[in-house]
Structure formats: C-alpha cells, structure tokens
C-alpha cells in the first residue's frame, strides 16, 4: 500500500494550468523528489498535498484515507518552507513546541482525537527534536539571532517533532550557500533514514534530487515527464527534456538513417551501435551528455572532428565547449596535462560513449 497517492490531481490559476491531472504513488518510508524548473507546478503540487491549495480535480490519499477536503491543521503533515517560515517573535524552543502545544490545546476540546500531552512530555520531545538537528544549546535563542543554516534546522525540527505521517520540503536549501547546502543535504538524508518518515522533496536542483531521493518525478509545464529511481532517469531519460534537465545533455537535431543506422548532421555521421534503442528513421534528436564525449589521442583517433571554442578548468575536471558540424557541444573530461595544452581554436577528434547518449524522434 502506498503512503501517499495522488489521483488525477490538478490545479488551474485562472487560465493557467499550474498542475495538469497528475497521478503519483509514494511508498511508505520513501524519499521522493519532485524536480523541475521554476514554474513547472512542483510547488503547487506540494501545496495541494499539504492542503494549502485546494485541487480543482482529483484526490489526495494518505494511506487509505482521503484527505482532499481536510484543512492543513487536520492532516498531520510536516512541512519545511523555502523561507523556513519560523515565527520571529518566538524562541527556538517555542517554535519547535508550537505544533505540540496546538495539539495539546485541541486535545482538551476533542480528547478522543488527539493524545494527551503533558508539559514535561512536550519539553522532552522538543529537546529531543533539537538534539536531532544539533541545536540543543540554541533552544533559548531568538530566531533572528540564528544563522541561515541554523534557521533551516529549526524548521526541520519543528516539522519533525509533531511526528508527521508525511514530511514535505519546499526547496529547503535554496537560501543557503553552496558549502552549507551540501552539508545540510547530507543531514536531511540521514535524518530521513533514521526516522523513516515518508518524504516529498521539491527542488529545481538535479544534483540535490539525485543525491537525496529514492525516486524522482521530473515535472515540466504542469506534467510529470518521467518518474523513477535516479539511475534510471539518468541512464534512460524518456524525453529530451529529462535528458537535458537531469543529465545536462546537449540536444542535436539530426537525421536518422534507418538501414545503415547512422545519425548525421552538418556533414558529420555517427554509426549507432547495435542494439541501441532508436526511434523510427527520419528527423531525430540526439542527446549527448558532456561525459559522453572525450578527446581522442591524435587528430584522427575519434569518430568526429571538432574545434575547441573555450575551456573551463575546474580542477579535477575540465569542460570543453566545442563546435562540430555547426553545433555547439560540451565535453566533460578528467583534467590531465594533455587537456591543459588544448587551447581554443585547436582541432580535436572526439570519441562518443553511447551509454551517455539517447535518441528521440523529432517533435513535429
């Protein structure tokens, strides 16, 4: 049984279809990422799960329960907001205790619905939650006095402490600097593993989604283009969009010659290896990830000729921007003394690793 199922969920804002009818099944304990560029509908989808947006059609199931018409406070879902949405006038402790205290208050009114909580129980749960995000010493601090990373961790503790049936993240790392982002990413993953709470994580950063998630849904223009585990998405992108967005592939309009199994553009022809999945012959799109191209030794060692336009050296790797058959390509290679001597304007010969390529029928 799925922990969360979305059935035909959709939302329009006026004439704009933010989310087109969408189905998703998320398993219990799973870390699920929704990945897409800004404006693709991923945040709207998340907000419908949390109950902040009411869908135009479709249903949300938490386990077997239809929660579509429940208000956010009745759903028991934890959410970490992009800007953290910490209450600025409360201390760290009060922020984290907020959800438990709200439950305690409603337990007075509806003793059957909510468990009774003593003040001591609240205190120990809050401290445990702060402990889990390494903020025990900061429990009396005021929120504005915290650094961005600490605020982010308070937001996580506040969402976790209510023992949510589902944990939602809305781009939680986008306000942090790069080093902190990598560190926090790891912490979130560890925390999710240890608590086992089913998690939905919205991001536009494919690296974040790949490193965190058990499964990813790639969204575009209100639709899920493809979902699956990171390896599957990376190795067999179902569309040019997924290849480009997730793999950083260069897309090349080309002709696919059926009988000889050749792709060609601008005077370049490449032979397709046997067994490589390819569409019907005719106009096609070849997607090549940067790591699928490498420089051959000597000028004739590869399968196509290209001219180096620029070189971007980042230490361990070097990215070349190249011109081949009138198209701009990217090649990502491990830096060597040889790559350091290749200057813009040099003619090089390129090898193609077909494991990093995919072919699609051209859109008409």
């Amino acid at each position: 049984m799925s922990a969360l199922s979305l059935k035909g969920l959709s939302k329009n804002f006026g004439p704009f279809a933010a989310v087109r009818p969408t189905d998703l099944e998320i398993a219990s304990g799973e870390f699920f990422a929704i990945l897409g560029p800004s404006g693709c509908g991923k945040t709207t989808l998340l907000r419908m799960i949390a109950g902040y947006e009411h869908p135009d059609s479709g249903k949300v199931f938490l386990g077997n329960t239809d929660i579509t018409s429940l208000r956010p406070q009745e759903r028991g879902i934890g959410m970490v907001f992009q800007n953290y949405a910490l209450f600025p006038h409360m201390t760290v402790f009060e922020n984290v205790a907020f959800g438990l205290r709200a439950r305690k208050a409603s337990a007075k009114l509806f003793p059957k619905l909510s468990p009774k909580l003593s003040n001591d129980a609240i205190r120990s749960q809050v401290l445990a939650a702060l402990e889990s995000v390494r903020l025990s010493e900061k429990s009396r601090s005021s929120v504005p006095a915290l650094s961005g990373g600490e605020q982010q961790r308070v937001a996580v503790a506040r969402a976790l402490v209510i023992r949510p049936r589902l944990l939602l993240f809305d781009e939680p790392l986008s306000n942090l600097d790069i080093a902190l982002r990598l560190q926090t990413r790891e912490e979130i993953r560890t925390l999710q593993r240890s608590t086992g709470i089913t998690t939905v994580y919205v991001t536009h950063d494919q690296g974040e989604a790949m490193s965190l998630a058990d499964r990813i849904a790639v969204m575009r223009a209100g639709r899920v283009e493809q979902s699956g585990d990171p390896g599957m998405l990376y190795n067999s992108p179902a569309s040019t969009f997924v290849a480009e967005f997730l793999g950083g592939a260069t897309l090349i309009d080309c002709d696919l010659n059926g009988p000889q199994r050749l792709v060609s553009w601008g005077g370049i022809s490449l032979a397709i290896p046997a067994g490589f999945p390819s569409p019907e012959p005719g106009p096609a799109v070849l997607a090549i990830k940067p790591e699928g191209l490498s420089l051959a030794e000597g000028e004739e060692g590869g399968v196509m000729q290209a001219t180096v336009r620029s070189r971007e050296y980042t230490g361990f790797t070097t990215t070349f921007t190249l011109l081949a058959g009138g198209r701009v390509l990217k090649a990502l290679v491990v830096s060597t003394p040889e790559t350091g001597s290749v200057v813009p304007g040099t003619s090089v010969s390129l090898r193609v690793d077909w494991r990093h390529c995919s072919l699609y029928a051209a859109r008409r």
């Binding site: 902040y52 009411h54 934890g78 006038h89 959800g99 709200a102």
Partner: protein
C-alpha cells in the same frame, strides 16, 4: 471554496452587523433624509443648495474649495522644503528637530487652532507686539478671515507632505544618487530625473489628503473665518437652526467631494512604502557648508520656530492670571492657579476624565473591530475583493467629522430597530460611538500595513502544525501585527482625546469632552483655563507618544497609515 470555520463565520457576521449599524445605516439615513421634503421624495434641498438667488451655500462651497486648493499649494511647498532640509542635510540636533517638525499632526485640531489664534490672531501676541514695536494704530498683520484659515491649514497639513516626502526620500538609495552623479548628471538633473519620480506618488497622496482635510476642516473656519461662509460651518448652522434636512443635503455634498479624493488616494498612485531599501539612505543632496545650503537651513529653522511658537505660547498662557491679558501684548501677571485649581476642585477635571473614558471605549471598540477586519480581509486570496473591502471598511476615514455627527443625529434619534428602546442621541454612548466610527479606519490601515509586511507562509506553517484559526490568530498573527496595532491604537487615542468636530454637535453637558470645555472657557475669556486644559491634553498625548516608542519618528509608517 472550502467551508469556513465557525469562529471565522461568527467574526464576519459581527463585523458586518457593526459596520451596517454604525456606518452604513447613519450614512444611508443621511442620504435618505436629504432626499425627502415634507415626507415625500424630492430634490428640494439640493435645489436650495444651488439656488442662485441665495448664494450663501454656493459661496460656502466656493470658499471651502478655494481655501483647500491654496492650502495644498502652500502646505506642499513648505512640507517639501522641510523634508528636504531635514533628510538631506547634516546639522547638529537633526533627529530631535526632525521629530519636532511633525508636531502639529499630534496636536488636537482645536488646540492647534487656538494656539495659533493666541500667537497670530487679531489679538495675538505677534500682531500686538509688532503694534507696540512700530507704534501703529492697530495690530500688525493679524491672521484672520480666509487668509487666517489658510494659514492654520498650512500650519497643520504641511506635515502630511513632510511625512510622505521624507518617507519617499528614505527609500531612495544613496547609491542611486551616486550612480546618477557618476554618470555625469548634475544636481538639478539628478533631482528632476531621479528624485522627483520617486516623490511623485507621495506628493499626490499628500495633496489628496490635504485637500480632503481642508474641505472637512471645521475648527479653523469656526474660530478664524470671521463671517465668511464655509461648507462645514453651514452644516453646523443648519443643525443649530434645527434644519436637519438641509444639514443632511449639505453633508451629502461635502462627503461626495471628500469621497472622490479618498478614492483617488486609495486606488491612485502607490505609496512609497513597499520598496525594500538595501543600501544606506540618501543624505547629502544639500551641502550645508555652501551658501545656498546655509540659507536653506536657516530658513528651515525659522519655519520650525514658527511651528513651535504656538505650542510655547500656549504653555506660557496656561500660566496667565485670568483677566491679565486684555489689551497687553503678553499677559501682565502669571500664576500656577490654573493648574492648582484642578486639585482644589475635582469637578474641573470632569471633562478630562470624560475624554479619557470615552477615548478608551473608542480604543477598545476600534481595536476589536479594526484588527479583526484587517486580518480577515487580508486572508482572502481575491485581490480585487480585498481592495474594495478595505476601501468600504475604511469609508468613515473619508467622512468629515461634522457629517458623522449629523448622520448620527439622524440615525440614532430614534430606535435603531423597532422594539429596541435605546435612543443613543443625548446619552453618554453617542460620543464614544462617534469616536469609534471616526477613528477605527486608522487601525485597519495601520494593521493592513503590518500585514503586508508579514510573511504569509507563517500562517500556513502554523496551520500545518495543527493550529486552528483562533490559535493562528492569537499566537502567530497578533504578535507579528503588534507594532501596527500599537501605532493604530495610539492614533485612535490621540484622535479621540482631542476630538472636537463631532463632539461639538453631539455632546451632552454631563459627558462633555475636554475640547468642548476648552471652547467654553475660551468663550468666557478664561484664556488661562483654556490654555491649561490644552496643556493637560497635550501632556497626555505626549505621554502616549512616548509609550508608543517614537511612532512619529517613523516617517514611513506614518505616511502609510495616514
């Protein structure tokens, strides 16, 4: 649309009921009354207003409009000038002086006008002092008539321009001016192309506000006009003559003009408030070291002195022995008697206690109504609806005090609903209610300003954590809105404590407010007593401003609320 919670529904129904009974019903009753003559629908009263053979009413409208236009121009020039000097120029004591510059806005209208009268009026200190100095036959340059009214208006209303312009200049980044200069633009070009566009919305808003306030002005014409007709005085006269139909028609006319300007003010140009400044504020358009800069600073100091003179005068006059200021240029004898009398005879404090009591009632009602209304309106997603709902809710802001009083008389001299016994007119309750209606919009505006600055995801986060609407309001929204509630509340107290315009038409002797008492003492030529009451009122207001933590120091906050 999902169903709303019972608490929300209850709050909405209460709001609608209060708004209907105390705002819509009195205004509706006024319009209805103005359209009836002899028990039948008729336009007779309006025909009378525009009757060419009896030009009193037309003249009154003409005078009101003329005075308002001239007040806008002069208030604008002086307010703009002071704002520039006080924000762009560095000199000693600047923060203190800048705060003093907004003083007139905190003066109750009656106190401001009589203080002005004491200094610049026909028998005022300056004209008589000059008379003595030059040995002329009469007082030199006494303020009176139309010019006197304009002077009083400029005295009070130039602060609007000051506040709006300083707020706009506060959002102007210093680096913007540096960039302009770096691109080769001279000071004049920078002013016209970079500074002025930033000021335009603020100038328009201040103009509309000044025009509205001048049209609604009652106290200044009452004490200065000297036989000239003004629309507010005509309403007052009609009421005193018992001609409520005519008073209603005049009120409708005045309100229509005021409302048009209010619509412009609210729906028109955006206020200079939402722009988040990142760099340091600009300061240094004017260099005080150079000659023009020095002249400007001196001129600004002179204006500030003129602004403070009435306040100083009223402090001094509160120490005058009664009867010692008749033909002298300043009183000849001084005493603490005007103050010690308060301790000797507790009944003298009755008006002060009345005003405090009624202001606190108005405060409680305004906060309850205003905070709830602002919060509920802000929760709707529909932008168009929330704009119009806010506009409707703050409608009394555009209704002159004289009109509120007329509307209350017309509406509440009979039971509100058949079967209900309460006749509110002639009871203690009529004044706190009138204060409430006049003052609550400022709470809505002030809280709405805070709400705009509040992060909406805070409430979402709270509901996601299991908090219901009441808890969300109490533990998340209320603390975030506290600064707005506080400044709105202080403005309600200040407005109610010194309220005069509605009070003079509605008060009963037992519940007479301090403003009415001041006028009564003035009419008895008890200058010292009138001044002493004014000083007590000013001290209370000063105390409130201190408690509110420098409300007037924040130009941006004030310019948004007003």
């Amino acid at each position: 649309m999902r169903s709303r919670s019972p608490a929300t529904l209850l709050a909405i129904s209460l709001l609608v009921a209060v708004f209907g009974i105390f705002v819509l019903y009195p205004l509706g009753a006024t319009v209805a009354e103005s359209l009836h003559a002899g028990g039948e629908l008729s336009l007779d009263h309006y025909r009378f207003l525009f009757d060419m053979s009896n030009r009193v009413n037309l003249e009154a409208v003409g005078n009101s409009v003329y005075v308002s236009v001239v007040s806008v121009v002069f208030s604008g020039v002086i307010g703009l000038f002071l704002a520039f000097v006080f924000t762009q120029c560095r000199f000693p004591l600047r923060p203190l002086l800048a705060r003093l510059a907004v003083l007139p806005v905190a003066l109750p209208p009656l106190v401001g006008v009589i203080a002005f009268l004491f200094v610049f009026g026909e028998t005022g200190i300056i004209p008589r002092g000059l008379q003595l100095l030059f040995g002329t036959a009469g007082p030199v340059l006494p303020a009176g008539g139309i010019a006197g009214v304009i002077l009083v208006h400029v005295y009070s209303f130039h602060v609007y321009f000051y506040l709006f312009v300083s707020a706009a200049l506060g959002t102007l980044e210093g680096s913007q001016l540096e960039a302009a200069t770096g691109l080769g633009s001279g000071p004049w070009r920078t002013f016209v192309r970079v500074v002025l566009p930033e000021l335009r919305p603020g100038l328009l808003a201040a103009s509309a506000l000044t025009f509205m306030s001048s049209m609604a002005s009652f106290t200044a014409p009452l004490l200065f006009a000297g036989g000239k007709h003004f629309i507010t005085l005509q309403i007052y006269a009609s009421k005193l003559n018992g001609d409520m139909d005519l008073a209603a028609a005049q009120s409708v006319l005045l309100t229509a003009v005021s409302l048009a300007f209010y619509l412009f003010l609210t729906l028109g140009p955006a206020r200079p408030s939402g722009y988040a400044r990142k760099g340091p504020a600009s300061a240094g358009l004017i260099t005080p070291g150079k000659l023009p800069g020095r002249v400007m600073v001196v001129a600004a100091f002179t204006l500030l002195a003129v602004e403070l003179l009435p306040v100083i005068a009223i402090l001094a006059l509160s120490l005058a022995r009664e009867g010692s200021w008749t033909t002298q240029w300043v009183p000849s004898a001084y005493t603490l008697g005007n103050y010690t009398a308060f301790f000797a005879d507790a009944s003298l404090l009755v008006p002060v206690v009345n005003s405090l009591e009624m202001a606190l009632l108005a405060l409680a009602a305004s906060l309850a109504f205003g905070v709830t209304a602002a919060f509920l309106v802000s929760r709707t997603r529909n932008r168009v609806f929330s704009t119009w709902a806010n506009l409707a809710l703050t409608l009394p802001y555009a209704v002159p005090g004289t009109v509120v009083a007329v509307a209350f008389i017309l509406a509440f001299n009979r039971p509100v609903l058949p079967g209900l016994p309460a006749l509110l007119v002639g009871t203690f309750w009529i004044l706190p209610l009138a204060y409430f209606v006049r003052e609550y919009p400022v709470v809505i505006r002030s809280v709405a300003a805070s709400l705009e600055g509040m992060d909406g995801s805070l409430l979402e986060a709270a509901s996601g954590l299991g908090a219901g609407p009441l808890r969300r309001f109490r533990s998340v929204a209320l603390p975030a809105l506290l600064p707005g509630i506080l400044s709105g509340g202080v403005l309600v107290l200040i407005g109610s404590l010194g309220e005069f315009v509605s009070s003079i038409l509605l008060y009963t002797y037992d519940s007479r407010p301090v403003s009415v008492e001041i006028l009564a003492q003035l009419r008895l030529f008890n200058i010292g007593a009138a001044a002493a009451y004014s000083v007590v009122l000013m001290l209370i207001i000063l105390l409130l401003l201190r408690l509110s933590g420098g409300l007037l120091a924040s130009d941006r906050r004030m310019s948004y609320i007003l």
